[in-house]
């Protein structure tokens, strides 16, 4: 699962911790400056990227970074996290520059984490396989309850 990377560029690591809780077992890479974020993107060009915009003064830099992600890393998907007071004014510009979504509350995390999982799933769809899966493999992939090794046993939950 090395492709499931979530880069969180925030001020103090709080958002990174929150993201880690909702996207496990994906790997969360923390960045605390635009430079660190660019470096992480260079290493993981298909990552899900969450960029915090803590204040009005950070807007221009955030717009530039989002546009850079959009153009330079077409396989990546970025979202912006803004302070609630900024959201109304900031949402449209952030989206226009490449933010797939704009969020401002931890209550939205679960829904946005689902979008991150869809992003990773789509990357999986785009992977080129040397030999296409057989019909049997395709059907087995779609059956419930994972493999039959018992790794995901839920007897306790069911009883």
């Amino acid at each position: 699962m090395t492709r499931r990377i979530c880069i969180v560029y925030d001020c103090d690591g709080d958002w990174a911790a929150a993201w880690r809780a909702v996207v496990e077992p994906a790997t969360v890479v923390e960045a605390h400056s635009a430079g660190e974020c660019r470096q992480a993107l260079a290493e993981h060009p298909a990552a899900w990227v969450a960029i915090e915009v803590p204040g009005a003064a950070d807007m221009t830099a955030a717009l530039d970074l989002l546009a850079e992600v959009e153009r330079g890393f077409p396989q990546a998907a970025a979202i912006a996290i803004v302070a609630p007071a900024l959201r109304d004014a900031a949402e449209l510009p952030l989206r226009e520059c490449g933010a797939r979504h704009v969020m401002s509350s931890r209550y939205e995390l679960l829904a946005v984490a689902t979008a991150a999982r869809r992003h990773w799933a789509r990357l999986g769809d785009n992977l080129v396989s040397d030999s296409p899966p057989s019909l049997r493999e395709q059907i087995l992939d779609r059956l419930p309850w994972g493999d039959s090794s018992g790794k995901n046993a839920v007897a306790d939950d069911l009883s």
């Binding site: 009005a56 807007m59 221009t60 717009l63 546009a67 077409p74 998907a77 007071a85 900024l86 959201r87 109304d88 004014a89 900031a90 949402e91 449209l92 510009p93 989206r95 226009e96 520059c97 797939r100 979504h101 939205e108 829904a111 946005v112 689902t114 979008a115 869809r118 992003h119 789509r122 785009n126 080129v128 057989s134 019909l135 049997r136 059907i139 087995l140 059956l143 419930p144 309850w145 994972g146 493999d147 039959s148 090794s149 018992g150 995901n152 046993a153 839920v154 007897a155 069911l158 009883s159």
Partner: protein, 462 residues
């Protein structure tokens, strides 16, 4: 003894309420509104009670939408759904949010709609404070610069290709730019649907700087899409001198969750979205499976003008020009200058199936640009998959995979039973529960599939 309020008492209570309240009957007529509502609308109660509130009402003498039309519930409310919409009667009062509650009769039909009006979350004071904090002028300047930097990439002449299909696309793009109708761009992923959408947007905007807002329908779930569409229905910050509407690009609208369709349809019908809508899809929306009425209605709303992008494999004559154009883009972005492709390399491009469409061609040209050691790109500079595909094409296709249905279904059943047993840590009662069958029936299948011995004392036949 219980006291049952009489209707006049209730009406007196509503009349005294400070928030606007009104009721629309099943024939879309306003049958009641309180004083607060009359003040908000700016009309006498007597002028509004009995008035029909339809979205497509005739304009009044001043050429404005009649106030009653602005009180109209969205169509889904008459289908029995609760809904909220934002409206603005005038700039001084700011946005209000109307909550519509359908009132059903014994037959389950909507006999009336109860509407209450409250201040919207984006009250003017908050919005203007936020814009001020962001230094709106600086933001507009930055956005204008961003749009200017993008504009050259989306000129009409960048839609390269000489095939009849591409010529038709270019003429449709010109037509779309000259009107404000909704546009649906149909084509396989990677075929440049987003590029065509931006080309229409920039051509329509001309020299003005107007917003372009993409929305990924396949990525965002119904909940996020609904909140986003509501947020976008607010007045757009388009810049002080802008007279043109911006564009909302709904990417992969065929993957729009059903729950978000009604929301979008409502906004499209009421014209509340201050943006022109361009949508992309993998197939015409009318061809989508299912007979959901809203899906069909949405298809109708979005498909005013349909632009079809054919897969590259169906317009191979465009490949040389397209590849050359992409090569020149690479030349412009780097210090390395290449002249073009050898005839053999072009032939290899032409014989490839391009499952990744335009996006794959772009990556292929970038790869070849980096690999080439002479001014001309040769077949060896192209990614290996192109030569492998060419080799494979020379060999006969393997016969279709065949199955023995009985055996195959048996294998699937066995796999599911094994998975269920593993999931239930061998507990057969729980495994049977997972499989939706009785415990004795599971035992019988276990025996039949050779997963348990018949003499197993646990085995009980039905």
């Amino acid at each position: 003894m219980s006291h049952r309020p009489r209707a006049p008492d209730l009406i007196r209570l509503f009349d005294q309420a400070v928030d606007p309240v009104y009721v629309v009957d099943g024939r879309w007529r306003i049958v009641y509104l309180n004083e607060a509502c009359a003040r908000w609308v700016g009309r006498e109660r007597s002028a509004l009670v009995g008035a029909e509130c339809r979205y497509h009402s005739q304009l009044d003498e001043q050429g404005e939408v009649p106030p009653a039309a602005r009180l109209c519930p969205p169509p889904q409310v008459f289908g029995g759904e609760y809904a909220t919409v934002r409206v603005s009667m005038d700039a001084a009062q700011g946005n209000r949010e109307i909550s519509f509650l359908p009132l059903l009769n014994d037959d389950g039909d909507v006999s009336a709609v109860w509407a209450t009006v409250a201040a919207a979350h984006d009250a003017p004071a908050t919005s203007s404070a936020a814009v001020s904090a962001l230094d709106a002028a600086a933001l507009h300047a930055r956005l204008a610069e961003f749009r200017r930097s993008l504009a050259p990439r989306y000129r009409l002449e960048r839609l390269v290709g000489d095939s009849p299909a591409m010529r038709r696309v270019r003429s449709q793009v010109v037509a779309a730019a000259q009107c404000s109708a909704n546009v649906l761009i149909v084509g396989p992923p990677g075929s440049g649907r987003g590029h065509v959408a931006r080309t229409i947007h920039f051509a329509a905007a001309g020299s003005e700087s107007v917003p372009f807002v993409p929305l990924a329908c396949a990525l965002l779930g119904a909940e996020l899409l609904q909140t986003t569409i509501r947020a976008l229905a607010r007045p757009v910050i388009a810049g002080p001198s802008s007279t043109k509407r911006g564009t909302l690009l709904l990417n992969d609208v065929d993957l729009l969750p059903a729950e978000a369709r009604a929301e979008l349809l409502g906004f499209l019908r009421t014209g509340e979205l201050p943006l022109r809508v361009i949508a992309t899809a993998r197939q015409p929306l009318a061809d989508l499976p299912g007979d959901d009425v809203r899906q069909l209605e949405l298809a109708g709303e979005l498909s005013t003008l349909v632009i079809e992008l054919l897969p590259l494999a169906q317009r191979r004559e465009d490949l040389p020009l397209l590849a050359q154009s992409l090569l020149e883009e690479r030349n412009a972005e780097s210090g390395k200058q290449l002249a073009g492709f050898t005839a053999e390399a072009l032939e290899r491009l032409a014989h490839y199936s391009w499952p990744g469409e335009h996006r794959e061609l772009r990556e292929t040209v970038a790869h070849a640009h980096a690999q080439a050691s002479t001014p001309w790109i040769a077949p060896d500079d192209l990614p290996r998959r192109l030569s492998l595909a060419a080799d494979a094409a020379r060999h006969p296709r393997p016969s279709e995979e065949q199955i023995d249905l009985e055996k195959f279904l048996g294998e699937i059943e066995r796999e599911l039973i094994e998975r269920a047993l593993a999931r239930a840590r061998g507990n057969k009662t729980l495994a049977a529960k997972l499989l939706g069958m009785t415990r004795p029936r599971l035992y019988r299948r276990l025996v039949q599939l050779g997963l348990a011995e018949p003499e197993d004392p646990e085995v009980v036949f039905e």
